[in-house]
């Protein structure tokens, strides 16, 4: 018999942040960034289900050219609810408030964020906004489309525009406070030795996102307030009938709106850098280029809003500038893709679920990014504008990109958050379903847009039916891919096998502490002497 003792199976630490305190007060009045992450996780998962169900009903309705289930009035409310919920109440929060809240202090070696009480306040503000919004939906809904274009939203719509925008208005302040909190945390709370260029790339992307939170969210707040002014007091701002300018609204909305889409994708890019590094056990190729590309994306994102408005009659010369800058913002995204791919060269590529999501992201985001060129080009945008091509493009970025990153991140850090593992085989299967279902759902929509089907159509000419049915079939696979993780994560949190501090053999401060971490994260402030991805030359320690 061998004398080498078998490694003893990992055990949960006796006291950790989840069991340090009990009772509902210990959760609802917590200032622990890790518990607040859980509060957000529950809230946004609920909102994701609301947004997902409305998408499911939309896809069902589109099986028939004349509409399978709903009158146009109801269908219009469904796509408006889907867009507003997913953008303002799920994607905006997803990675920053769940993974960001949980990880930023740990990754930089801090006990908590800079302003823990403000952090809790952010959650309450979000909950207030979400509650107002859900009540607005439940009492009739809103039918303006998520873009809320005027004068439709200010003068002509007779649905719950005021209460719904009120919900969004409130929730925006939660994001501003979160952004502020993260910026100060990253500047002031880094452990000794944690220099800017030793930071994990996730922190760089969260920093860039936080800056956009603080700069862009006030703009949408002002814009929504102007809608209320015109709707309630008939102050002529946007409605030409009252002396206003409807295009002014689009300038304001997209000045917020385009940075907003980078709020959604930048955090995901940060997560992918972590997934690729951990999945390859390798330093990210061209670290500083990836870090600076996040910052330059954030900067340029404020100067491209006019590419949503090529066909509004805006000056063609303004259009030229916006088109050129839109191409410019594509380049740092391409740089990231190439660097992630290069990281896999001569790596040790794991087939664990997080890496599968990373690989899926790289592929889908490549397609999402390249199809963006069709829309940044003014010539091609003329025909593709406001068709399903646009819908397909931004879902490749928002779902294929942002949600794949969020799910991948959840899978990587789930063992850290709960101390437990999930069933790997089920998780890989679900990742595969998400990838296949996603492509079946949104791939046909590129062709639908090319042949001319406008977006936001409740009924459509019969020749578009085949592609719509294909898309709906794909959506059913995608839905199953989303439900499975919901089930196994629940099981894992209660009964999953114990993970140990570092189940992936990954580098980074978060993997040096127990899973789940103690309330104060580190027993003593860590002294950082190496960069984030200091793999090798010695073997990795798994478990």
């Amino acid at each position: 018999m061998s004398t080498v003792a078998l490694e003893s199976p990992p055990t949960l630490p006796e006291v950790h942040y989840l069991n340090a305190d009990y009772g509902w007060r210990s959760w609802l009045f917590t200032t622990d960034h890790k518990r607040i992450a859980w509060l957000y996780l529950f809230a946004i998962t609920f909102m994701f289900v609301v947004g997902g169900l409305s998408a499911t009903l939309m896809r069902l309705n589109l099986i028939e050219p004349s509409g399978l289930l709903f009158e146009p009035a109801s269908y219009n409310k469904l796509f408006t609810a889907h867009g507003l919920v997913m953008i303002f109440f799920f994607l905006t929060q997803s990675i920053p408030t769940v993974l960001g809240n949980f990880l930023i202090p740990i990754m930089i070696g801090a006990r908590d964020v800079a302003f823990p009480k403000l952090n809790l306040l952010s959650w309450y503000i979000y909950m207030l906004g979400a509650t107002v919004f859900i009540i607005s939906l439940a009492t009739g809904g809103i039918d303006t489309g998520w873009t809320l274009y005027t004068p439709l939203s200010t003068t002509y719509a007779n649905t719950n525009v005021l209460s719904a925008t009120m919900g969004i208005f409130i929730a925006g302040f939660s994001s501003i406070l979160t952004g502020l909190n993260f910026i100060v945390t990253i500047h002031k709370m880094r452990a000794p030795g944690m220099t800017w260029f030793r930071l994990p790339l996730f922190i760089w992307s969260m920093y860039a996102t936080s800056v956009i939170f603080v700069l862009a969210m006030p703009v949408i707040a002002i814009t929504l307030a102007l809608i209320a002014l015109e709707r309630v007091w008939h102050v002529g701002i946007f409605d030409p009938g009252l002396g206003g300018d409807p295009i002014l609204f689009q300038h304001l909305f997209w000045f917020f709106g385009h940075p907003e889409v980078y709020i959604l994708i930048l955090p995901s890019m940060g997560v992918i850098s972590e997934l690729v590094a951990a999945g390859c056990r390798k330093r990210i190729f061209g670290y500083s280029f990836v870090a600076f590309s996040s910052v330059s994306i954030a900067a340029i994102s404020f100067m491209v809003w006019g590419h949503h408005m090529f066909l509004t009659g805006q000056s063609v010369y303004a259009g030229l500038v916006f088109s050129a800058l839109s191409f410019a913002v594509a380049i740092p995204s391409a740089v990231k893709i190439f660097n992630w791919t290069a990281t896999m060269h001569k790596a040790s590529v794991s087939y664990d679920t997080p890496m599968l999501y990373a690989i899926g992201f790289i592929g889908l985001f490549t397609i999402g990014g390249l199809t963006g060129l069709f829309l940044a080009s003014m010539g091609t945008d003329v025909h593709l504008h406001d068709t399903y091509f646009v819908v397909a493009h931004f879902h490749y970025v928002m779902v294929g990109g942002a949600i794949m990153g969020y799910l991948g991140g959840l899978h990587l850090w789930w063992p850290k958050m709960t101390g437990r593992l999930y069933p790997e085989a089920w998780a890989r299967f679900a990742a595969l379903l998400v990838f296949v279902g996603f492509n079946l759902t949104f791939g046909p929509q590129f062709i639908l847009g090319y042949v001319g089907m406008p977006r936001r159509y409740a009924v459509y000419p019969a020749e578009f039916q085949v592609l719509n049915v294909l898309s709906s079939a794909g959506a059913s696979i995608l839905a199953v891919g989303y439900v499975i993780p919901l089930i196994y994560f629940t099981w894992s949190a209660l009964k999953g096998p114990i993970a140990g501090p570092n189940p992936w053999g990954a580098k980074g401060l978060e993997w040096t502490i127990a899973s789940p971490p103690p309330t104060h994260n580190f027993e003593q402030t860590p002294i950082v002497t190496e960069e984030a991805y200091a793999y090798g030359p010695e073997e990795a320690h798994v478990g």
């Binding site: 896999m344 790596a347 199809t371 406001d386 001319g452």
Partner: protein, 316 residues
């Protein structure tokens, strides 16, 4: 060869084939880079798969030359696409001088079309083949968008301003007309048909429309009915500037600005008048007293009052 492809929109305008070339180029580019990235990712994932639980691969720092390469090459490609697509776009924005004019008013949820010769249509647009057609469009309420996939054209139809788009149809037939900008409850019903006819058939169709007054004649009637001729009579100096030869001329406003009197200016001048230099600001607004179709009729009447050459006096 693409005509047999089931997922291809019809090519029925002069711009459509050119549009499609650019689209095919971008599609080829997308396919090429997607296959490149997918291929590399899968190749690396298989070749460098983790073979032992604890293995750590050799590390490297990155490579400046590669970074520069994959920044500069995509940038070069982007500059090329930008040039190509912008040139195409600029051409789609400028209607040829000799275009046949048609006027469009969008309204929740229908398209109203007016031909200068008089015929009016709803959710239909009859046009002759081979002739450049210029649409001047506005909306009665919210923002709509006039898109014809077979022509690869699309333009927002915005209340309060005139927007224009143009096309030359190259194939007879009936084509979808879609409202592409979400405009409220009936958005997906705001559809119509563009009927492209041979020029001689089109002439027959035009003359076959019974009892219609040309737009300018209808405008003249409104001009009298609304009392415009009190201040803008045909002859002599009066409290309002003369309108003969106004269209296309340069007008100096009271505030010192000089503007070209195009359709949009005339519309503005009727609905929200700004005093013209040398005349008292007496004109009342007609906002709310007439609909966009009537405004278009008046514009057509004023346009019919002669070319700018006869009107040197107002030039600054």
């Amino acid at each position: 060869m693409w005509y047999g492809f089931p997922f291809h929109p019809e090519q029925a305008s002069s711009i459509a084939p050119e549009w499609d070339y650019l689209f095919y180029f971008l599609t080829a580019l997308t396919v090429f880079f997607s296959i490149l990235i997918f291929g590399l990712v899968f190749y690396f994932a298989v070749k460098y798969r983790r073979r032992e639980k604890n293995e750590v691969p050799p590390q490297n720092e990155g490579n400046l030359l590669l970074e520069l390469g994959w920044t500069i090459i995509p940038a070069g490609i982007c500059v090329f696409i930008f040039g190509w697509s912008s040139e195409l776009f600029m051409r789609t924005q400028r209607a040829p001088a000799a275009s046949t004019e048609v006027f469009v008013v969008g309204k929740q949820w229908m398209w109203k079309v007016q031909h200068p010769e008089g015929p009016r249509e709803i959710n239909q647009l009859h046009v002759p083949m081979g002739v450049p057609i210029k649409l001047t469009m506005t909306s009665e309420d919210v923002i709509h968008d006039f898109g014809v996939p077979a022509f690869r054209i699309k333009k927002d139809v915005v209340p309060g301003i005139y927007s224009t788009e143009w096309f030359t149809a190259t194939k007879t037939g009936e084509y979808h007309l879609f409202c592409d900008q979400y405009c409220g409850m009936g958005h997906s019903h705001m559809r119509g048909t563009v009927v492209v006819m041979k020029p001689e058939e089109y002439e027959r169709w035009l003359s076959g429309q019974m009892n219609v007054k040309p737009m300018a004649a209808e405008g003249e009637r409104l001009f009298g009915q609304l009392g415009c001729n009190t201040c803008h009579p045909g002859e002599g100096k009066n409290s309002g500037p003369p309108l003969q030869g106004l269209f296309g001329s340069q007008v100096k406003l009271q505030d010192g600005k000089t503007v070209t009197a195009d359709e949009g200016f005339i519309r503005e001048a009727i609905l929200g008048p700004q005093a013209v230099a040398g005349y008292p600001a007496l004109m009342p607004t007609f906002q709310g007293q007439m609909n966009e179709e009537e405004v278009l009729d008046l514009v057509a009447y004023i346009k019919s009052l002669g070319p700018p050459a006869e009107r040197k006096a107002t030039k600054p």
